[in-house]
């Protein structure tokens, strides 16, 4: 298949410098910095030169390719800003001037195709060949969970990209993994009350669920929450990831007598299933809700999100309330020509937070960086102040509830949603150990 490994920024000179640094470092074992730090993972080898390498794996093909590309753009912008000491990065990580701890960030990108084994192989290569000091990836929670395990085994920090499963910082949490975007459960807790207010109590719900960790945990979270308002599940149609046709599931939904269709699908699956729900007349019979909004679904479905409620990490119009969001939107749009969606926001903030933690620790030494995160202090993000919980490494952050705008109300071609509510994260979150998180050791 396609040679999905693209390496960037590794010039011959950079490679020579890194090699020289490595040789020099190994010849000078008595230098204080090395004497104090016990080697762990790719540290200190990965940062002994003038650069630090990050391994990025995002889906560039397959059902999550669109979201993967958006996420990648967020990472690239963050690295560019970190290396140049951009004003926006300084707002989030004040000590960052040129690179992290004075080291220029380099990175490699691999196409995970949203497949855990491909992501793990690529990141393993980045760790062993490039001495990656931090790895990232996601978009599929199955990938995120797999990379969690790799990170813990290799003792390399994993700053999770898009992943909405409860498992990521729940039962599959690790000491070396951190997640900025929220649980499926958090999304359910945020959008559930809005749905009950809008549609009433004791309603019948039909679910379309993708058959993996993200899908099952989001559906379970929605069912649990809505049960408290007397909602019942009349059918839960579970489809494999990347299903080519949703007609059989939608026929079952159409005949289920449901009042509301809760489409848990994500990526192209969400787009396709929503379009086909329209084709089969399902959307004429029942209301649609997307409990965890997928980036680009509004533009890709060509108007089918009009009037539809969804929970999301970020929508660009919140720039009216958050100055950092406005700075981000402007920088992103200037570079890429469109308004960023939440994959890009999530990626950018995750890297900015990592840079801040390294600067605070004064070192890339993983246990020190982890402990900086685990202080749990309140730090800035694009959606206001947030913090990481020390127990499960989950960022506590607000959930944005949006409702699709009617075409006549759209002020420009990217004005797809009204922001209905920005729900503070604190009250939405379950207890840190509710999903069985046991993060493991530092070394």
């Amino acid at each position: 298949m396609t040679d999905n490994l693209i390496r960037r920024g590794l010039s011959r000179r950079g490679l020579l410098q890194t090699t020289a640094g490595l040789i020099g470092g190994s010849m000078l074992p008595a230098m204080p910095a090395f004497a104090e730090d016990k080697p762990i993972g790719s540290y200190p080898a990965g940062v002994s030169g003038s650069t630090a390498f990050i391994g990025i794996s995002v889906p560039r093909t397959g059902t999550y390719a669109v979201q993967g590309e958006d996420e990648l753009k967020g990472y690239q912008l963050a690295i560019e800003h970190i290396n140049s000491g951009h004003d926006l990065i300084k707002k989030i990580s004040p000590k960052t001037s040129k690179g992290v701890l004075g080291k220029e960030l380099k990175f490699g990108v691999a196409d995970s195709a949203a497949k855990p084994n491909e992501a793990v192989q690529a990141q393993q290569r980045f760790i062993s060949e490039n001495k990656a000091i931090m790895i990232t990836g996601g978009t599929s929670s199955a990938v995120a969970v797999a990379l969690n395990k790799l990170a813990q085994r290799e003792h390399v920090l994993f700053v999770c990209g898009i992943s909405g499963s409860n498992d990521t910082t729940g039962k599959d949490c690790v000491r070396y993994g951190f997640r900025q975007n929220f649980f499926g459960q958090t999304a359910a807790a945020a959008i559930g009350p809005v749905m009950v207010k809008e549609f009433g109590k004791n309603k019948k719900a039909a679910y379309l669920t993708p058959d993996y960790t993200y899908g099952h945990t989001v559906t379970k979270s929605m069912q649990d929450f809505l049960a408290t308002a007397g909602w019942t599940t009349v059918t839960n149609q579970v489809a494999p990831l990347g299903a080519p046709d949703y007609s059989s599931y939608l026929l079952n939904v159409a005949n289920s007598g449901a009042d509301v269709l809760i489409n848990v699908n994500w990526g192209h699956d969400a787009v396709l299933s929503t379009q086909q729900a329209k084709q089969f007349g399902v959307l004429d019979k029942m209301k649609l809700v997307v409990p965890y909004q997928v980036p680009f679904i509004a533009r890709e479905t060509g108007g089918l999100m009009q009037g539809v409620y969804a929970a999301t990490d970020y929508w660009w119009t919140i720039e009216d309330k958050f100055p950092l969001a406005k700075m981000f939107n402007e920088a992103f749009e200037k570079k890429y020509g469109y308004k960023p969606e939440w994959g890009a926001e999530n990626a950018y903030v995750s890297f900015a937070h990592w840079a801040r933690m390294c600067e605070q620790a004064g070192s890339f030494n993983p246990p020190d960086v982890i402990k900086a995160y685990e202080k749990g202090e309140t730090i800035p993000s694009l959606v206001g102040d947030v913090h990481y919980r020390p127990e499960d490494h989950q960022c506590v952050r607000p959930v944005i509830i949006v409702k699709g705008k009617q075409q006549k109300d759209m002020k420009n071609k990217e004005d797809w949603y009204d922001v209905v509510e920005i729900v503070p994260g604190e009250g939405l979150m379950q207890k840190p150990d509710a999903f069985g998180c046991r993060p493991g050791d530092y070394s």
């Binding site: 298949m1 396609t2 560039r60 093909t61 397959g62 390719a65 669109v66 993967g68 590309e69 058959d211 489809a239 494999p240 299903a243 080519p244 046709d245 007609s247 059989s248 599931y249 026929l251 079952n252 159409a254 005949n255 192209h268 787009v271 396709l272 379009q275 084709q279 089969f280 007349g281 004429d284 680009f296 533009r299 890709e300 479905t301 060509g302």
Partner: protein, 291 residues
């Protein structure tokens, strides 16, 4: 619980998918039957047909023009591909042909991804076929019904070309024995070019007709290619009627299995293919003679 309307709906879905697979497979099978080339870029041709139609639709807002432009563009692409690359591989081993067509397919997909990004693109069905039809016992998307009719007309046209014209006669003779056709003084290489163009056009036509059912993405041809090969094997390599029969069988197997357990749709498809290969190694309506 399976209800009768659900089952009938799925049979209709199978018919629509099967008709589409039949059309794509007929293109693949006449190329292989005549030229001996297994064109692994055929799925990409299907995808490009959709995108060429999409671009046309953007400018004209006419579905009919989109179908015409999508088909013609892919036909020309097929002819160019045959002239520039494929003809150098007629006498090369099959592995070389597979690799070069596979590589071309990847290039086409990446090129489309570069131009259009991975975001899915919409081509709405023509106004005439929008909405849902009440069949009395069930509701069904009108356009999916129309697909069966549109594809049937296209297959009919292909049948006339293959069985009622001199070109078709040469093509069919070429499938049987291209050396003999060549020795009769017919320029088989020119015929080859036309056959490649027609085969590609069948895929391109299917690509744009399918676009309102499943929105366009650069990778849309990948799954179709696999299904199409299975159809050709079931129906019989090089057989036009076999492609139609195989397509309909494959469409129904995928649809009906999806109703019970979608994860097993491909398993059942390949099981059926294996069964056919065991019982009839040349496929259900396979043409013997060409190696």
């Amino acid at each position: 619980m399976i209800s009768w309307p659900n089952l009938v709906s799925q049979l209709f879905n199978g018919l629509a998918l099967g008709a589409l697979l039949a059309l794509i497979s007929s293109g693949l099978t006449i190329i292989y039957g005549t030229l001996g080339v297994l064109n692994l870029a055929h799925g990409a041709m299907f995808m490009i047909g959709g995108y060429a139609g999409f671009v046309t639709y953007q400018y004209t807002e006419s579905f009919v023009l989109a179908v015409i432009a999508g088909s013609l563009f892919v036909m020309l692409l097929g002819v160019a591909m045959e002239r520039v690359i494929i003809r150098h591989f007629y006498h090369r081993p099959h592995e070389d042909q597979l690799l070069v067509t596979f590589g071309l397919g990847i290039c086409f997909v990446e090129l489309v991804r570069l131009i259009f990004s991975s975001q899915s693109q919409l081509v709405p069905p023509p106004a005439l076929f929008q909405g849902i039809t009440n069949l009395g016992f069930m509701f069904y998307p009108t356009y999916r019904l129309a697909v069966v009719g549109i594809v049937a007309v296209a297959l009919g046209a292909l049948f006339i070309i293959l069985y009622r014209t001199r070109l078709g006669m040469i093509v069919r003779a070429g499938i049987e024995d291209s050396v003999m056709v060549d020795s009769l003084g017919i320029n088989v290489y020119r015929v080859f070019m036309i056959v490649f163009g027609i085969g590609a056009m069948a895929a391109g036509f299917a690509g744009i007709v399918n676009a309102p059912v499943v929105s366009l993405t650069p990778g849309i041809g990948d799954d179709i290619l696999v299904q199409t090969f299975v159809v050709v094997v079931i129906g019989g390599v090089g057989s036009f009627p076999g492609a139609i029969l195989g397509g309909l069988i494959a469409g129904e197997i995928i649809s009906v299995t999806s109703m019970f357990n979608p994860g097993y749709a491909y398993v059942m498809l390949f099981a059926a293919m294996t069964l056919v290969l065991v019982v009839r190694p040349h496929g259900l309506l396979g043409v013997q003679g060409r190696e």
